[in-house]
Amino acid sequence: MSTKQGRMGWLFASPYLIYALVFFLIPLVWSLFLSFTDWNLISPTFSFVGIENYTEALKSPGVQSAFWVTFKFMAVFVPLVVASSIVVALIVQGLPRFKGLFLIGFFLPYLASGVVSSLIVKGLLSYNSPVNEFLRNAWGLDIDWLGSPFAALFVVAVIIAWKFTGYYALILTSGFESIGTEIYEAAMIDGVSPWQRFWKITFPLLYPALFTVLILSIGVTFGIFTEVYQLTGGGPNFATNTWQMEIFTRAFSNLQAGYASAIAIIASVVTFISIFIIRKLLEMWGKRNGWS
């Protein structure tokens, strides 16, 4: 290892070093510092308030709702997107021709901006929209989609599931490719039913790809913002108030920069611990069933 090469290495790595300093380490320290102040984002002065922001935050309905809403989104969104992407992957997988073309088609929703998909859904679900006209006339149903807590959460979860289905199906099909046809042929000879075939052969072999999809989709639920901001603003009555929404509202609408920094730190800790625990549980579940 010559010194010249060492210097070149540092030179090539320097963009990261600068980036990590300016956009990671400095903000990180600043955030911690702010979380112990009552700064309002504009005023030149502020005072230290100790851990008051943290105790205040833990008691507030905004933070408590953000904690639960994330898990509610997880409970609706993850099963939805996993099921739909498995269905898409299963259907596309067996096609001898145009498989790639279909996969590209199913991937297209991933390209939509959250603003655009929210706009379309808002149009589709407005009071006089064809969907609601139909529901009213056919079944006498009058649903206030974005005004009732569960429906609003469900609508947002569906939009995001729509976006990610094709992407996850692509991941799953590469998992299918690792399953050889000989296994199926052997099972066919042994007279295994399609249902058994799915659970005893396909599912265990698919598990590594499925694990990736599960981890990715769980990660998504901790970062929901655009659709909620656009459609509900976190409402009705905090029913869709995610961490990002809560921090954004506090910091940039209410100008409570110090308080919002404390929430951001709480959110990061909760996110980190939750993902860690869920990951470990998933790994244990896979191991116990002998899938991984």
């Binding site: 060492g6 070093l17 980036y19 990180l28 088609g105 790809a209």
Partner: protein
């Protein structure tokens, strides 16, 4: 047996087509409504009267403070996403090459730190990053939108793994021929990385093009807004103009779909690689 199998196949294709149509229905709805007569927008699943009025409104300027706000925002989106993606690619390639192919003291430390930062919840950085941008005088500027998104750790991670798989003998042979590090990257490493470069480029560009939160915080003046931010601001107060909002959605979605379809074949090859 053969007949039954063929029938089953037909059924599968039918199922796939129907499912695909359902999945892309929101796009179809968007396009149809952007051309629909203003009386029919959001009133019918398939409008019957069509007009170009929405696009005329959009391109002619609509009602706003600055002339042609939508075209201006479209232009801003390209500048911001283009510059940001370009920088993310260049920095990722440089750093990944150093981490994979240039032995130097402290390399493992940097590598571990990148992994640590990758799994660190980014939400904590939102407010202070905004303050950093404000303090260095980049609030309400292109650079303010570009610089905090000038590097992607995910891209560094992907490239590092890919470069590690390239045999050292290629690089050493080139070095003996007197090639510099930059020449090696440009002439040997990059041509070998075409499909993974396509995948990384597409994901970065898609993500940057549809970014809302950050651009919304940094861009304040009317002439600085990206198309995504302008659309986000307008579809509430401009509820009276649903047609043009659909036209703006088409304007926002079309470029990214075209770029994706241009690279779709390479993208699929690359995806197969990255998933293995």
């Amino acid at each position: 047996m053969g007949g039954a199998k063929k029938k089953g196949l037909w059924f599968r294709y039918l199922l796939a087509v129907v499912l695909l149509l359902i999945m892309i229905f929101p796009y179809i709805y968007m396009v149809l409504n952007s051309f629909a007569d203003w009386d029919q927008v959001d009133k019918k699943l398939f409008p019957t009267e069509y007009t170009l009025q929405s696009y005329q409104w959009l391109l002619g300027g609509g009602e706003a403070v600055i002339p042609r706000p939508w075209l201006n925002a479209f232009f801003n989106s390209f500048i911001v996403s283009g510059a940001s993606t370009f920088l993310m690619m260049v920095t990722a390639i440089m750093v990944a090459y150093a981490l994979a192919k240039m032995p130097f003291k402290g390399r493992d430390t940097i590598n571990n730190f990148i992994l640590f930062q990758m799994f660190f919840p980014a939400i904590i950085l939102l407010i202070p990053t905004f303050l950093v941008i404000q303090r260095i005088g980049m609030y309400d500027s292109y650079w303010g939108m570009i610089l905090p998104k000038a590097m992607s750790l995910w891209a560094v991670f992907m490239y590092t793994n890919f470069f590690k798989a390239i045999p050292d003998t290629f690089i050493e042979a080139a070095k003996l021929d007197g090639a510099s590090e930059l020449q090696i990257m440009y002439k040997i490493v990059m041509p070998m990385s075409k499909s993974i470069t396509t995948v990384i480029f597409l994901f970065l560009f898609m993500e940057r093009w549809t970014e809302l939160l950050w651009d919304m915080l940094v861009a304040k003046s009317d002439n600085m807004l990206t198309l995504n931010v302008l659309l986000s601001q307008m579809f509430g107060p401009y509820g009276g103009y649903p047609g043009p909002m659909y036209a703006a959605s088409v304007l926002l979605t079309l470029p990214i779909i075209i770029i994706f379809l241009l690279f779709a074949k390479k993208f699929q090859e690359g995806m197969q690689f990255t998933l293995k």
